[in-house]
């Protein structure tokens, strides 16, 4: 399992590094069109070849990583920022109206297919990377709220919470001081999984034209644009596809490995 975790870390950091490097340098300008150079196979000048406008695929993948990671990161941030407090509140007020409202609200969001909501949002506000972030982020909220509430409920029955109550601490303070640190490892793991799902969702939305708009490079749109030419120039579709698969795989392996390392029960057994 150590090797899988190392592989996951490596792949995740490779994607992150590509995104960071693309901020200052890419092999070629991703907005420069060179129709004469189009659909070139991989070569020394263009490591991964060029697309139907003659843009360098390696450069576009690096810049695309930036979009994917930014969208997924902010979406996970929205989920954590709203979902965790809601989950803590629901657990602290277990069985009360507040708990019911939060959890039924979560059910309501879960009841809608995420893609439909994303289409709804883009239909109203127009397609853009920001709207993709909002659509993906909204669906992260109930995920984090449920994970937090579930873990917090079992903590609330423990005696150290009782001791804190006897020390006159209120529910909010107990949630912040005692509950949150003990669910943090779970949230880190869930965060990596939601992060990889966010990358997939961004690629999916961009693929159907609801995410990042040109000229902002995006792995999903690269796939969409390449699909008509798959038989002609397969490399144009294969490389963005590989980028998505490897990044998502890497994040999932990293999440699994983190769970094994952070879960105190598993750690004690080792």
């Amino acid at each position: 399992m150590r090797a899988a975790f190392a592989l996951g870390l490596g792949l995740s950091f490779a994607a992150l590094a590509a995104a960071l490097v693309s901020l200052v340098w890419t092999p070629h300008d991703v907005t420069a069109l060179a129709i004469a150079e189009r659909l070139r196979p991989p070569s020394a000048a263009h490591w991964l070849g060029t697309d139907h406008f003659g843009r360098d695929i390696a450069s576009m993948l690096m810049a695309g990583a930036r979009t994917s990671i930014a969208v997924a990161l902010v979406a996970v941030g929205i989920g954590l920022g709203l979902g965790v407090p809601l989950g803590l509140l629901a657990a602290a007020r277990r069985g009360t109206l507040a708990d019911e409202v939060v959890m039924r609200g979560n059910d309501l969001i879960f009841a809608f297919p995420s893609l439909v909501i994303a289409i709804l949002i883009t239909a109203v506000f127009g397609p853009s990377a920001v709207n993709a972030i909002i659509a993906i982020g909204i669906f992260n909220v109930p995920v984090f709220a449920r994970v937090t509430r579930g873990a917090a409920l079992s903590l609330w029955t423990l005696d150290f919470i009782r001791a804190a109550e006897v020390a006159g601490k209120g529910r909010i303070r107990i949630s912040a001081e005692h509950i949150l640190p003990n669910v943090a490892s779970l949230l880190v793991v869930q965060g990596t999984i939601q992060f990889s799902l966010g990358i997939l969702a961004e690629a999916g939305l961009s693929y159907v034209g609801l995410g990042a708009q040109p000229p902002l490079p995006s792995w999903g749109r690269m796939l969409a644009e390449a699909q008509t030419m798959v038989t002609l120039a397969p490399h144009v579709a294969i490389f963005p596809g590989l980028a998505i698969v490897l990044t998502v795989l890497g994040l999932n392996l990293m999440g699994d490995g983190l769970r094994d390392r952070l879960d105190p029960r598993l750690r004690r057994a080792a």
């Binding site: 005696d159 150290f160 009782r162 001791a163 006897v166 020390a167 006159g168």
Partner: protein, 538 residues
């Protein structure tokens, strides 16, 4: 000819030696006791015999069971023996049964696995076995699920599963430790009866010397993976040849030296008074339109505790002891009645002023669940300062509190997992002491501790009471402990106080039938097995 002969059993888990040269014999039909403190290797011995030792364990030696060496048998042969010729029951009746299967299916499963009967035949045998362990068919249908049974009844089902095939040997690992005294007495009766009627040998693993005294013909004492002493129970209890055995007995008979509380001075009020306290819970509706039934967990309870007094509260689990303690601590509201602390009314949650809350603290039973594993001891112990405001010399106060309970000041930089159960209980006491409360509620505070550690913690509690003038509400199901450290005792049953009075008087001349039942069920070491010399020492 012995049924089981264990010779030089050694077990190492990833290189760490857990058992070293364990020797003992169990004759057919005999009750054999294996006693020792937690971590001494009692359970590991049983698991090694069954071939169920944890991963990475290596066993060596011999264990001849009916002519076959258990340690040399392949896994296939062992599965044929387990449940068939050797049965086993465990401590925790709540987790020993599969919650998704009916009790009938679970007992029948043992028979089906060993192909001892057809499906219909297995159910018939299951029925008969359950009746034999005290769950007759007219009241306990085979279609019941474990959650519909009490702890004692579940343990009976576990015994039925283990004995359905009439094994030659039943290994019982702390079978009654998680049960109430009265239920414990019934389960021990049942095990004794099964062993006698069916000629089944019983290997009883326990930490409780009194339980062994009443059950086993022969006993072995284990310490740190070795058997230090073995022999006929009465003889071993009388002579106590080995030093460790002596210390074990001294601890279980140990009585902390305490002065009885002085009677309240004229004009002085009670520290705590509870008058007519009622705590009700709303249960789920039995039907869609039926009203919520109500459970009265605490029913018109009245009691008083004087400053510096030690009051015991005894009763079976579910009688309302802990619910009452939550109400006294101001964590739950009352439906009727008044609780006063130092003359002022206790109210739940934020409505009680912190200065008043600071007069009460609590120590819980479970030394493992009582602390936030992510905080250092300094932060854990100083938590009650939330009530008083953090003083300038907080660190020094934490250091002083740790030293008072017999730990070192530099322990405050450590995390809780670095401490043993007894040490954790000391830290819990330090946390309760740090703001100098007038009353400490001890909710089964020593129940989870080994006898020797328990004796030390009781000594500590008594010493702290004398030096700080503390009042204790000592909640326990263990009459022996309550007798050692309290002035008065209250007996609780089904939410009501059924008897109260001076501890010695109530426990020697009980008047209420429930008190009598509790006392009769408490296992004791026969008085004539105790050495006079030993009694004089303590």
């Amino acid at each position: 000819m012995s049924l089981l002969a264990v010779r030089d059993l050694t077990l190492a888990i990833r290189g760490a030696r857990v058992l070293a040269g364990v020797d003992f014999d169990i004759a057919a039909g005999e009750v054999f006791g294996l006693v020792g403190e937690s971590g001494s290797g009692k359970s590991m011995t049983a698991l090694a015999l069954m071939g169920l030792a944890p991963q990475g364990a290596r066993a060596a030696g011999r264990a001849d069971f009916a002519g076959r060496n258990l340690l040399a048998l392949p896994e296939r042969a062992l599965t044929g023996l387990r449940g068939n010729e050797i049965g086993m029951i465990f401590q925790e009746p709540m987790t020993a049964l599969n919650p998704m299967k009916t009790i009938g299916d679970q007992v029948a499963e043992t028979l089906l696995i060993h192909r001892a009967a057809t499906r219909a035949g297995a159910r018939a045998i299951a029925r008969e076995t359950l009746a034999r362990v005290g769950l007759p068919g007219d009241r306990f249908a085979l279609s019941l699920y474990p959650h519909e049974l009490s702890g004692g009844q579940r343990q009976r089902v576990a015994i039925a599963m283990a004995t359905a095939l009439r094994p030659k040997l039943l290994i019982a690992d702390e079978p009654t430790t998680a049960l109430d005294v009265t239920t414990q007495a019934q389960i021990l009766d049942l095990l004794r009866g099964l062993a006698r009627d069916e000629g089944m040998a019983l290997m009883l693993i326990t930490h409780d010397l009194a339980v062994v005294a009443g059950m086993a013909a022969r006993v072995a004492v284990m310490q740190a993976g070795r058997i230090v002493e073995r022999g006929a129970t009465a003889a071993l209890f009388r002579t106590r040849a080995h030093d460790y055995t002596r210390r074990l007995f001294a601890a279980s008979e140990h009585r902390p030296l305490r002065r009885p509380a002085r009677p309240r001075q004229k004009g002085g009020g009670a520290l705590l008074s509870v008058e007519g306290a009622v705590r009700e819970y709303r249960l789920p509706r039995p039907g869609a339109f039926a009203p919520h039934p109500r459970l009265r967990a605490v029913d018109a309870v009245s009691l008083t505790i004087d400053p510096g007094e030690s009051v015991g509260l005894v009763g079976e689990s579910g009688c309302g002891k802990s619910t009452l303690s939550r109400a006294i601590l101001g964590l739950d509201p009352l439906q009727a009645g008044v609780i006063r602390l130092d003359g002022r009314q206790v109210t739940p949650g934020h409505t009680m002023p912190p200065q008043m809350r600071a007069k009460m603290q609590v120590v819980f039973q479970d030394p493992y669940g009582s602390f936030n594993p992510r905080h250092r001891v300094e932060r854990l112990v100083s938590e009650p300062f939330h009530l008083t405001g953090r003083p300038r010399d907080a660190r020094a106060r934490v250091a002083a509190a740790l030293e008072e309970v017999g730990l070192q000041a530099d322990d405050m930089a450590k995390y809780i997992h670095e401490f043993s159960g007894g040490q954790r209980q000391r830290i819990a006491i330090a946390r309760a002491l740090i703001i100098r409360p007038a009353l400490i509620i001890l909710d089964e505070a020593v129940s989870a501790l080994d006898v020797r550690v328990r004796a030390q913690v009781l000594d500590l509690l008594v010493a702290l009471q004398a030096s700080h003038g503390l009042a204790y509400l000592f909640i326990s199901h263990d009459l022996g402990v309550v007798r050692k450290v309290t002035d008065r005792v209250l007996v609780m049953q089904a939410g009501r106080i059924v008897e109260q009075g001076a501890t010695e008087a109530v426990l020697t001349r009980p008047e209420h039938p429930h008190t009598r039942a509790l006392i009769a069920a408490t296992p004791t070491i026969p008085a004539d097995w105790k050495e006079p010399a030993n009694a004089a020492q303590t």
